[in-house]
Symmetry: C2
Subunit: 200 residues, 2 copies
Amino acid sequence: MPDPIEFYFDFSSPYGYLASTRIDALAEKHGRAVTWRPFLLGVAFKTTGQVPLVDQPLRGPYSRHDFARSARLLGVRFQLPEPFPFPSMAACRAFYWLADRDPEQAKALARAVYHAAFALGRDVRAAEAVAEVAQPLGIDRTALLAAVNDPAVKERLRRETDAALARGVFGSPFIIVDGEPFWGHDRLEQVDRWLATGGW
Amino acid sequence: MPDPIEFYFDFSSPYGYLASTRIDALAEKHGRAVTWRPFLLGVAFKTTGQVPLVDQPLRGPYSRHDFARSARLLGVRFQLPEPFPFPSMAACRAFYWLADRDPEQAKALARAVYHAAFALGRDVRAAEAVAEVAQPLGIDRTALLAAVNDPAVKERLRRETDAALARGVFGSPFIIVDGEPFWGHDRLEQVDRWLATGGW
């Protein structure tokens, strides 16, 4: 079986959320698995000199409009949480803590966090909020809260974010297929074609 | 007949070039005309705080790769000129000088400038270079060179660029369909659907 495709995203990214609703089915069509890799986009912004889209003159109002319009086109429920953008360390740490033991459960948590943040518009910054989202998945609340404050888990997220930057990942979503990089929810059609053809 | 769709672009924009090869056929499918509106993206960047994509860490190398990959997918010839990005005042002024008298000839000039810059990789900064590109279209060289230095034409370009910003245009290409804004070559499929359905 060929290598999994890599799906990099920030939990505070609406376009990452939209991609998360499609990426596994898209890969599966081509017999591929998907490795999910949340990272801290804010760290990448320090390198690229970017600030969040919604905080930029002209681009901010447009992007809010485009998030909702793109979601409607996909038939995906969408609501921007407040505050937005938000720090997503707790969700990222909980993800990597689970990922080592059960990648599918980590992915289920990521989907649940994205759903809470961008389908329901909930505030998922706090570890407690992430634990609440995790509970219906059978993830132990006390263990999750401990993991989010575990220095080893914090270090793991730092390493994952550094590794993402080292691979040239600077946006969310960012998908790598056999070494080929694609930035943006609006490149999923190209990802689909690349998987089908091996490139052009 | 419904209103034309508006196609805003900068002559130094590779994604504007890609869109320019498709926008008229796309509109025509839906019985629409296209008003072409070149403007100076650098002026918009002063408002949004952006710098050219290719000058940004991480995003620069990716974008060069993506320009060429997107062009190959469309089957459109592509070569980045040197220097890039480049100031495009001369081409813009020549365009608006022609546009008042013959919009179709202005559009033909725009296509020829884009082709020279991004299919052939030629340097089209100088008024002389624009005049050379214009010559096969039957556009008088001396008149064009005079127009590019005409204060009224210069003022016209300033007004067009200010008007673009006032409408919220901050990128290239930027397409407005019945008041609905779409930023990016990667939104042409959405433009197509919007024209077909009137929105979603």
